[in-house]
């Protein structure tokens, strides 16, 4: 059976796995975005706080994904929970760092003007500073998403959902019927989904970044 026939034959299962894959990556990115932006907002005014937050997030990134999952499984068991926790932790660095860089990069004269004409602290942050940092934050989310697409494959090790299970079982069954097709279908699926998500990010940027600050 060639690859196309294989995909056509197993379409139901593959498309479900693809959907689960994208869904866990997107959800993890969103959770990480909320946490990362909150951390960024909390620390960006303090150089020490910014350095500590960035260093901590970088440290997480140096832990091999296998090891991290291995450490999470005894605590949270197998399945989606340890997978999502691991993905969120990995996604934190790019988002936190970009939020800090984006917020710190806002021209102080603009924040001063915002305060000076009567915006309260929350408005200055939400209507001015975060809006100006948004391109950087979005870029951080994009990097995180791309990274998570690959890491989520490894998550099959924790019996998490997604195309990882196809890749893994294809590889462990090497030599038997359709093993290569299965691994290949899983891998190509991840690549195609990653490209689709790139397109989605492009559209989000187009519609959410003001023309006044679009590069």
């Amino acid at each position: 059976m060639n690859l196309l026939d294989y995909v056509a034959d197993r379409w139901d299962r593959l498309s479900l796995q693809a959907w689960l894959h994208v869904s866990e990556v997107v959800q993890s990115t969103l959770i990480a975005a909320v946490i990362g932006v909150l951390i960024g907002v909390a620390v960006y005014r303090s150089p020490i706080g910014s350095a500590v937050a960035t260093a901590l997030a970088s440290t997480i990134l140096t832990i091999p994904s296998f090891a991290l999952l291995g450490l999470l499984i005894p605590v949270f068991g197998l399945g989606a929970v340890p997978t999502v926790i691991a993905l969120v932790l990995y996604a934190l660095l790019p988002i936190t760092r970009n939020t800090i860089v984006g917020l710190a990069g806002v021209d102080p004269a603009i924040s001063d003007a915002a305060k000076g004409i009567g915006m309260n602290r929350v408005s200055v942050l939400t209507r001015v500073e975060l809006r100006l940092a948004w391109p950087a934050i979005l870029a951080g989310m994009r990097v995180s998403t791309q990274m998570l697409m690959g890491i989520a494959v490894i998550a099959a090790y924790a019996k998490g959902p997604g195309l990882g299970s196809e890749v893994f079982s294809g590889l462990t069954r090497a030599g038997s019927a359709n093993a290569t097709n299965q691994a290949l279908a899983g891998t190509l699926g991840v690549v195609i989904l990653a490209l689709l998500l790139e397109g989605v990010y492009f559209l989000i940027a187009r519609f959410t970044i003001s023309r006044g600050i679009r590069g």
Binding site: A109, D112, A113, G118
Partner: protein, 386 residues
């Protein structure tokens, strides 16, 4: 034109600001009454505390001690955000929000004050007209699509949008080229004629201070007031060496920008002749009768056209072509400095015209020098008496 003052008096009493971790206060025991509806300029060397003093008025910086009232109301008793919505604020390089359009920038404060949508839209257009930006062209532009001068105009429009009685301006025209700066200054004066706000304006350009200020406060270290007076008085009579240093050379010349031609005694005894009503021969007779060597030829609407010397007339066939054309002339609205320039380029004296361009007189260099001398004497007498 509205003659009503919409500004409010600002009073600073014993205001001191000590930044945390510094020894000497940045502003020390500052006392000043800023009259309603006037432009008061803070000038002084870099770091003397102009910005700090100004920013305490809208509490962007909280005073360490002292009281500040606006229109009699103690600012420290108000909510700081609410206070700032009632005090216009414009800064160098405008500080516009780059992700907002021009209209959205101007609409911010009315929006914060919960004005109705329709009222905000109308107000935005009104403000754009006021600062000389065509709404249909610029409303939906972003700040980066504007020149520096245009951005500055939007900054002023944004500051004025909610019609605040007080306007604080920190070197608002500091970052634009000299010609644009001159235009922006002229516009601010024009606006002020209509609006009559109380304006506190920080600059370190003394010429700008002279041009714009109803009163100038020359500040020294720790915002100590070296002199607080009208530009005329400061130019004529600097209180101390520091002020004199700031006034700089050319104080007399600067005074000329303060006086208008209508304020001085220009001459109105030139021999004039209306071209279509007369002939060279007639004019020549008139000139010899009155013992004048020069005459001024006017057109039918009495606008100055040409200077004629008596000897030009013997060969002339028509008054429309005789002699030499009038070059630079000045109006009664012009400053004495403009007049001086016209006099020098015309060689001795310049024609003065009224509001419709009609001849009203001539002004010569003696009139200008006499005026300067007179100002000096008055101020010397004034300071000797006090």
């Amino acid at each position: 034109m509205a003659e009503t003052v919409s500004g409010a008096e600002i009073q600073l009493e014993n205001v001191t600001k000590r930044y945390p971790g510094t020894g000497e206060p940045a502003v020390k025991d500052f006392n000043m009454t800023i009259p309603a509806g006037k432009i008061v300029i803070f000038v002084g060397p870099s770091g003397c505390g102009k910005t700090t003093t100004m920013r305490m008025i809208n509490r962007l910086i909280e005073p360490t001690s002292g009281t500040i009232t606006i229109g009699g109301e103690d600012t420290l008793k108000l909510n700081a955000d609410a206070l700032r919505r009632k005090v216009g604020y414009a800064i160098q390089q405008a500080g516009l929000f780059p992700h907002f359009t021009v209209a959205q920038n101007i609409a911010v404060v009315p929006g914060l004050l919960d004005w109705e949508k329709k009222k905000i839209g109308d107000r935005v257009d009104e403000m754009m007209d006021l600062v000389g930006l065509d709404p249909s062209v610029y409303r939906d532009r972003f700040p980066r699509q504007l020149s520096g001068g245009q951005q500055q105009r939007v900054g002023v429009a944004r500051a004025l949008a909610a019609d605040p009685p007080v306007l604080l301006m920190d070197e608002p025209f500091g970052a634009v080229d000299p010609i644009t700066r001159g235009n922006l200054q002229d516009e601010l004066l024009r606006l002020q004629l209509e609006l009559r706000k109380t304006i506190v304006f920080v600059t370190h350009d003394f010429d700008e201070a002279v041009k714009l200020g109803d009163k100038i406060a020359v500040l020294g270290d720790q915002s100590t007031i070296q002199q607080f007076d009208t530009p005329e008085a400061i130019l004529a009579n600097p209180a101390n060496d520091m002020v004199a240093g700031f006034v700089g050379a050319g104080a007399s010349l600067k005074q000329l920008t303060l006086l208008r031609v209508r304020d001085v005694n220009y001459h109105d005894n030139a021999l004039t002749v209306v071209a279509p009503d007369s002939s060279p021969a007639e004019l020549r007779k008139q000139m010899s009768e009155q013992g004048k060597t020069y005459a001024l030829v006017l057109d039918a609407r009495r606008r100055p056209q040409r200077w004629v010397h008596v000897r030009d007339l013997s060969t002339a066939s028509s008054l429309a072509t005789v002699g030499r054309p009038v070059g630079d002339n000045v109006s009664t609205q012009s400053t004495l400095q403009d007049a001086l320039e016209a006099i020098l380029s015309e060689g001795g004296n310049a024609v003065v015209t009224g509001s419709r361009g009609e001849y009203v007189g001539t002004i010569d260099i003696e009139t200008v020098t006499n005026t300067i001398q007179q100002l000096r004497d008055e101020h010397d007498a004034g300071s000797a008496a006090s």
